[in-house]
């Protein structure tokens, strides 16, 4: 209620209170109207008060809900971020484990397990598309003597240098790995025995030029190699066996050479 209204009401109240107007015909009706108006005003004020109160509470609730929502969003983002990083960590750990379980720790070359995987895949494509492949089994000559005479440290160096030579001599599509002790397997996909020949000669040649020294003295290292081309429908185990037999033959013929399986 504004000031003008309030003054008007006071004025009416004063007029009603004046004894001179007591018997006026409008006196009773006006005094009832005034009382009614005052009652309505009070009710209206109360109503507005209650409504304001509700609105205020609703506003506070809304504010609190918004705040909580922001907090939860922040938490959710943080949770996803951390969980994602843990997942990444786990997948990297898996990759590292996979790598460790497939490679020889000394030379870094594929181990027998991974070589078997390569061979399985190779025999699959070879059968499907009639593609040739050739395997070469390589063994360092008199490796035990090197170990006994110069120590395992030199033996290990010979193995790692040979591994490096293998990797740098082979083509990118070829695979090589450590089959066992001083034995290495070379897998030549899409390669016939004939095509493998120059590669084998180059490999044996590079092997002869390995420069491993102990106390300034150069240690001569040679290797023997048995090579076999896959003959369908034999399985790769049989090809490996034939390469092994050729290797044995190369050893018998005086080592430091490569021989093709008959």
């Amino acid at each position: 209620m504004n000031g003008t209204d309030e003054r008007l009401l006071e004025e009416i109240a004063e007029l009603l209170a004046d004894p001179a107007h007591r018997d006026h015909p409008l006196h009773a009706a006006l005094s009832q109207l005034l009382a009614r108006h005052r009652e309505q005003s009070r009710r209206l004020d109360r109503l507005i008060g209650i409504a304001d109160g509700f609105q205020h509470t609703a506003q506070q609730d809304l504010h609190a809900t918004r705040h909580e929502l922001e907090r939860q969003l922040h938490r959710q983002r943080k949770l996803s971020r951390i969980a994602d990083r843990y997942q990444l960590l786990l997948s990297e750990r898996n990759e590292a484990l996979r790598n460790e379980s497939h490679h020889d720790p000394l030379t870094g070359l594929a181990n027998r397990r991974l070589l078997h995987e390569h061979l399985e895949r190779l025999i699959g494509t070879s059968e499907r598309y009639q593609r040739p492949f050739t395997l070469a089994m390589l063994d360092i000559d008199h490796f035990k003597r090197i170990n006994d005479r110069f120590g395992h440290d030199v033996g290990d160096r010979a193995l790692t240098q040979l591994a490096d030579t293998l990797q740098s001599t082979l083509r990118t599509s070829d695979h090589c790995g450590r089959w066992g002790g001083e034995e290495f397997l070379v897998i030549l996909p899409e390669t016939t025995l004939e095509q493998a020949e120059p590669l084998m000669s180059r490999l044996c040649n590079r092997m002869r030029h390995l420069d491993i020294r102990q106390d300034g003295v150069r240690i001569r290292i040679t290797a023997s190699v048995g090579v076999a081309q896959h003959r369908p429908p034999e399985d790769y185990e049989r090809t490996l066996q034939r390469a092994d037999e050729a290797l044995l033959q190369a050893k018998r013929q005086g080592r430091n050479r490569w021989l093709a399986a008959g």
Binding site: K78, L79, R81, I82, A83, R85, Y86, L89, L90
Partner: protein
Amino acid sequence: MQGDSYPENSYELFTQVIDWTERFLAEASHSLALDLELLYLNTSSVKAMMDIFDILEEAHQAGRQVRVVWRYDERNERIAELAEEFKEDCTFDFAITAVRVSA
């Protein structure tokens, strides 16, 4: 707490830890130090750890002395980075310490 955490029902496991923490903070009045050496956590374990840090943060805001030490293998910096992520919203003393772990 130490190790990996990927329980089938992490709610069950962590409710006990959370309950214990809340009870300790409510009943005792001395300081609380949490020693952690955690490695892998699955998502629900991450959430549980966030809940625990929230409880500690609340206690800290209320004037309690609260401290966390998260130890990690110095060869595994990634764990330290993750601990940093957890620490982000915490205003209490939260140390991330490298330790040498013999292999």
